[in-house]
């Protein structure tokens, strides 16, 4: 190591002499970093629970880098989508997730890819954490054939293995998620289903019907309310008689969690997953989080909340900044290393956006495909009685 250091400094000296300027570079090797550190995280509020998730948690350097990279990728992906939308390359609905990255990343860190997850329409982040690539996601947003749903689903209907979308009807995904959990229990595979909904959806009747059946039948489902304080333009105080969303399951134990801290989310999800897998039935988590964008791209997001509020959250609670500060102050990474990741992420997003912009749209011949599964080909009526389109499974 000593030899390497002297080699590096020789090279540096040579460079500096060549360029005639002072070159500042990090001469530290990766062996200098702390491999793991213990962090004190916020306690969760508990409902009908005697035990709680851990408040002293260990994060390794590798984990930290992975969370950082994933969150940064999601952040940049959403911002690029914003850009493409404003250029009218993405049209239709586009609900962006920036600000809420810690939720998706923290949850995935505590479950397996063999577990199941379903969410509502603010789904780009989850499509990524569940295994979709940035390329496929962006091409789906632009409606091209390279999209994860071949351009037929769009922003709100992206699917991949053990990820059931992307659902457009507010609240409808909650019974679906409990159904997936029923299948897990039925098949005795020790898997669970994470079933997400927002503070707006939390007042839907079908969610309470689902709470009842999930508890009655002890389904292995983790209900998660992503409370970002606003259901479209309606603040939680104006929508709910009780804004303690983690208590709304009444007979289902609940946790309220700081959704801006990826480690809080991870620990709470670990706790919840253990609860489910031990056969105790459903559990409810409320993640307190925030979205920087408006409800969708057609909402500027400042008519029902102040710019000061948005700015305050950005400066004090941004999930990526929090993680970055933690890693830097515990000597788990260097500024340059993280910058390198940023550069790589930016490139990945640029390439994906390039693909999403240039990939062709799905051909008209495929318009009517995938109406039925495992069916012989049928003829589908077009826009007039003499126009017949082909549909294959």
């Amino acid at each position: 190591s000593g030899k390497m250091l002297s080699n590096i400094s020789n090279v540096l000296r040579a460079c500096a002499q060549k360029n005639g300027a002072a070159v500042v570079m990090s001469a530290r090797t990766y062996a200098d970093f702390t491999t793991q550190a213990t962090f004190e995280i916020k306690k969760c509020d508990l409902f009908k629970l005697d035990e709680a998730p851990a408040t002293q948690v260990v994060m390794t350097r590798d984990e930290g880098l992975q969370y950082y990279r994933t969150m940064q990728t999601m952040r940049r992906m959403e911002l690029k989508a914003d850009q493409l939308y404003k250029q009218k390359i993405i049209r239709g609905f586009c609900h962006l997730y920036d600000g809420q990255e810690a939720c998706a990343v923290g949850i995935e860190a505590a479950i397996n890819l063999t577990d199941h997850l379903i969410t509502a329409y603010r789904a780009h982040g989850y499509t990524y954490t569940r295994g979709g690539t940035v390329k496929e996601i962006m091409a789906e947003l632009t409606g091209r054939r390279g999209g994860i749903a071949k351009g037929k689903g769009g922003s709100m209907h992206m699917y991949c293995k053990n990820f059931y979308g992307g659902n457009g009807i507010v609240g409808a995904q909650v019974p679906l998620g409990a159904g997936v959990a029923l299948a897990c229990k039925y098949q005795e595979n020790n898997q669970l289903c994470v079933c997400l909904y927002g503070d707006g959806a939390a007042n839907q009747g079908q969610i309470f019907e689902t709470y009842n059946m999930a508890a009655l039948w002890k389904l292995p489902v983790i209900f998660i309310c992503e409370n970002n304080r606003y259901g479209m333009g309606t603040s939680v105080e104006r929508a709910a008689a009780s804004t303690d969303y983690y208590k709304r399951g009444e007979f289902i134990p609940g946790l309220r969690v700081d959704g801006m801290d990826v480690l809080c989310v991870r620990e709470a999800t670990r706790f919840a997953a253990d609860h489910c897998r031990s056969g105790k039935g459903p559990i409810l988590m409320e993640l307190q989080t925030y979205r920087y964008h408006g409800h969708s791209m057609s909402d500027p997001g400042v008519s029902y909340r102040t710019r000061e509020e948005i700015q305050e959250v950005r400066s004090k609670s941004d999930p990526i900044s929090m993680l970055k500060d933690r890693m830097l102050s515990n000597n788990m990474a260097s500024v340059e290393e993280l910058k390198e990741i940023d550069v790589e992420v930016r490139k990945e997003i640029e390439d994906a956006a390039q693909f999403a912009t240039t990939d062709p749209e799905p051909p008209l011949e495929e318009l009517c495909n995938h109406i039925f599964s495992n069916n012989p080909p049928v003829e589908v009526r077009g826009t007039n009685p003499w126009s017949k389109l082909k549909s294959v499974s």
Binding site: Y164, G179, L182
Partner: protein, 331 residues
Amino acid sequence: QNAVSALRRREFHRSVTVRDALNQAMDEELERDERVFLMGEEVAQYDGAYKVSRGLWKKYGDKRVIDTPISEMGFAGIAVGAAMAGLRPICEFMTFNFSMQAIDQVINSAAKTYYMSAGLQPVPIVFRGPNGASAGVAAQHSQCFAAWYAHCPGLKVVSPWNSEDAKGLLKSAIRDDNPVVFLENELMYGVPFEMSEESQSKDFTIPIGKAKIERQGNHVTVVSHSRYVGHCLDAAAVLAKEGIECEVINLRTIRPMDVESIETSVMKTNHLVTVEGGWPQFGVGAEICARIMEGEWHVSSQTSCSTQRLQSVQNPMQKFKFCMCLREVPD
């Protein structure tokens, strides 16, 4: 238990009620495929609100036959989710009137998903239950939903008439990898029909999407589905005495509709009457007339065709009185 049921069958000379045919279909499919299960209100310990699932809970237990609370939207969604995750649920609505509580799950979660996911996510589910008019149950419990569900791509909609239809079509529906809306009729449950040797087999299925000509004739084509097929056959028998031969077509499937069979018949008869229990506006009969008018018959025929729709009176209470107005169809 198999020996007893075999004996029972021989005793009745293979006369089986629609209820028992449906029961047999579900029993056989539950036995054949571990992933099949039944859920709905009163399906398990009560033996079914109309006793269609009698004996199934006793035989298969809590895991395969599940009593649900009165939460249509919730349990229909749970059934769809289970189908997405690899099971093959049969979701019973006590009547299809209650399916309106859950119609979003049927259409938006079940019917559209395979398309929106470009083939990644199939939804192999059957929604079944009694549909349409019963005996004096009043407006809220008497609506026919054939037209509503048949309007939507991504769904198959089936409407059996007799026991053979009921058994063969339900087995096909359960084996189908797509969402199927299976419309039964409460007044038909207790009606016995002779069932052929072939239909007693555990592998007997009737293809979805194919109509059946129940009675051949040259003078007028009469198209119907569900209970009213029986009425059509009765009317045809009366008319035969006057020398009018009706060709009675039992649709069996509403969507995808077997328009070809109707067209072939109308090419022959040049007269069409549709008979249904639903309301006339935007109904099954309206669709049939439109398709015939647009189709081969209209293009190639030299004579003018008269089409008439017979259906329930257009008021909320569907007290359907079937009039023998076939006699009044103009020449």
